[in-house]
Symmetry: C2
Subunit: 405 residues, 2 copies
């Protein structure tokens, strides 16, 4: 992508009401535009980051045999009334609206009910199970406060996966596979070192659920971890009873703040029972389907990555989610000429700063934008048939042969 | 994709209230699931069709230098109040909702206002122009009636492109480029032969706008065309004055029904003026930005294609939008074995019906699903090292060497 051809430029100021560092930096760097608190537009570079995150998740889920769909935002109250969740007392973050032909509608904050309802057309026998269905979908949650940039949205992008099983053993088996896939996903997203599978409350049907918590000073959650991080607990389950149950009573636990980037949950019959999702077993008995659900906050992950790795010069993207791998600058006539040539050979990987501005401005924007490697081609580097390649994380420049970058 | 591993199967019945052929066939074939009138979920095969349509549009727009973004659905009333369009009297298809912290919001039925508003951060000088920004985004329209399947949605996917220019000449030039790109897009979508650029009402700022109308018996619009289709008019502008203006008064016009699949519009100052989108010219004068907008109804295109090409056996997809190119069936032990082998070599292109059901059922599903080519491998075809390849459109089978398909 050529910066000279893009409408986006870096801005001197973030929106005045943008208190979160991720929101402020992503706005200034031109990745997002704030519509209102908790509601953002994704500009070309921001959309590329989102698509990179989706790609990493999609590859892992497809490898497990999950199938991708796209469900609606507008929600008929009917299935939600069967589970009691259309009530504003029960779920206090609904956006509701009205059909002009009459009748209330909701904007989906999650999709258990319509997913179960839809699958009633497709599940009738044990032969139809197990099955795994996911989507990347815009969720709406009417949060009273939304001051954390992309980390708490009123409109946000989520990956939600639902699994359907004939037995609890089969649910347990798949749940364990998702745990492994999630570890790989957060590793690939660059969050592996600081993201912990964390015990959280399980609700009525399961002892525990699991959250994926990324250690972060401004995270909204509090977690407790033991010395080797083998047991990590959300504050809500950090008590003697649970510590004893997990066999770690007496161990020392430290406290930290963290941001929830995903969660997985053995729902069992929670939604399949009230909505009547049943199958006939091998013995021709009608049985209720076991369910699990598995979320990752896609836009929240973008916010957490921005927040976590940024330094005083700007954003720092891990390579796998960065919108481009290289930020290219040519200096002087020969430098520009060779940069043009190199750009054309690597177009998909390169953000080419071909604007008619001085190198200092380009270097500052390269840092604000957080592209992993800055590549500078000038007379000096060309004397060695090389470019100066600077790692955004370390700031260290290296002279590398143009043919070897 | 292996049918045995997919949750989707063909259904005997469409939803009872599904009156439109496209909706009924797409539901029965498992491409979509109806949530309510005008609101659908896209199941795995349906999502592939949507993605194929997006890919065709994206390639053409990117080639024009357009940049992709993703804007929000939730709308702050402010910019819409400046253009008068937040009023239900002015725009009667709003879905509105309420922030829990107070204040009305709307669900975007289109995006001129937020787009112009956002670009005020990025346009200040003539040097920033022209620029072209588009998105694939879910629109919400509170239609009183929605009985045409995917062809009239309350929640639907649209491509909307907006262009910004320093002069009317530059707008005219880009508009002409979009006209050519749209011709290529509808050609690639398989609708080229029956889709006409159609004169329609231009509103206050332009004499005419243009719609892209696909001839269709159940289309909701009426269009008039002359003998060589060089002049096509929407009923709303089919009158003596317009015919004279276009130099075709006295020519014979025939009437037909059609479905609008796209429209393009020279907005000029319609939104940039009330929202104050200005730039400083080369002479340092502050001038208002010229605008154009260009829509294509992505999910409607899917409905129109389904509706238009279907026959009494089911759907018939043009190759470029079909979810898969081949529907593979192996008959007998050798047939299944060779089919497995061939599948593994062409996985991305093949929907493999590896279910344990009789061939007749597979053949019927192949026709309902409308995959362009059915490939059958059996002892009989293997005797010639071949497969029987049947064209879904013509029904004609041909024996083709396995290595040559």
């Amino acid at each position: 992508m050529r910066l000279s051809k893009s409408f986006v430029k870096t801005l001197r100021e973030a929106p005045k009401d943008e208190l979160a560092r991720n929101g402020a930096l992503l706005s200034r760097a031109g990745y997002i535009h704030k519509e209102m608190a908790g509601v953002y537009d994704y500009l070309p570079l921001g959309l590329r980051v989102i698509e990179n995150i989706k790609k990493i998740i999609r590859e892992e889920l497809n490898a497990l045999g999950c199938e991708e769909v796209l469900m609606s935002s507008l929600q008929n109250p009917e299935p939600w009334e069967k589970t009691g969740r259309f009530s504003d007392q029960e779920v206090d973050i609904w956006f509701k609206t009205e059909l002009s032909s009459g009748g209330a509608l909701g904007l989906a904050p999650t999709h258990e009910e319509p997913m179960v309802n839809m699958l009633k057309s497709y599940i009738s026998s044990y032969k139809d199970l197990p099955l795994y269905v996911y989507q990347f979908q815009t969720k709406f949650r009417n949060e009273l406060r939304a001051k954390s940039g992309l980390m708490r949205g009123r409109e946000f992008l989520m990956k939600d996966l639902y699994s359907f099983h004939a037995s609890e053993e089969d649910l347990d088996k798949f749940y364990a596979e998702v745990e492994k896939a999630y570890a790989r996903i957060f590793e690939k997203l660059g969050l592996g070192n600081d993201t912990y599978e964390t015990f959280a409350s399980g609700g009525i049907f399961a002892k525990y659920s699991h959250e994926y918590q990324t250690v972060l000073p401004v995270g909204e959650d509090t977690i407790y971890y033991n010395s080797d991080h083998s047991v990590v607990l959300n504050k809500e389950v950090y008590n003697d009873e649970v510590l004893e149950d997990l066999g770690v009573k007496g161990a020392e636990f430290a406290e930290t703040t963290a941001a929830e980037v995903g969660n997985i949950f053995k729902l069992k019959f929670k939604y399949s029972e009230p909505l009547g999702l049943k199958f006939s077993s091998e013995n021709n008995e009608m049985k209720t389907v076991y369910m699990g659900c598995y979320g990752i906050g896609v836009s929240r992950v973008m916010g957490v990555i921005a927040e976590k790795f940024a330094d005083d010069k700007g954003l720092v993207w891990p390579e796998a989610v960065a919108p481009f791998k290289y930020y290219l600058v040519g200096i002087g006539e020969n430098g520009m000429h060779e940069a043009e040539k190199w750009y054309k050979e690597h177009e998909d990987l390169v953000l080419f700063d071909d604007r008619d501005v001085r190198p200092g401005e380009k270097f500052a924007d390269a840092e604000l934008l957080g592209i992993p490697y800055r590549v500078v081609i000038s007379d000096k580097t060309l004397a060695e048939e090389s470019a100066e390649v600077t790692d955004r994380r370390t700031g260290e420049p290296r002279l590398i042969k143009l043919t070897e970058i």
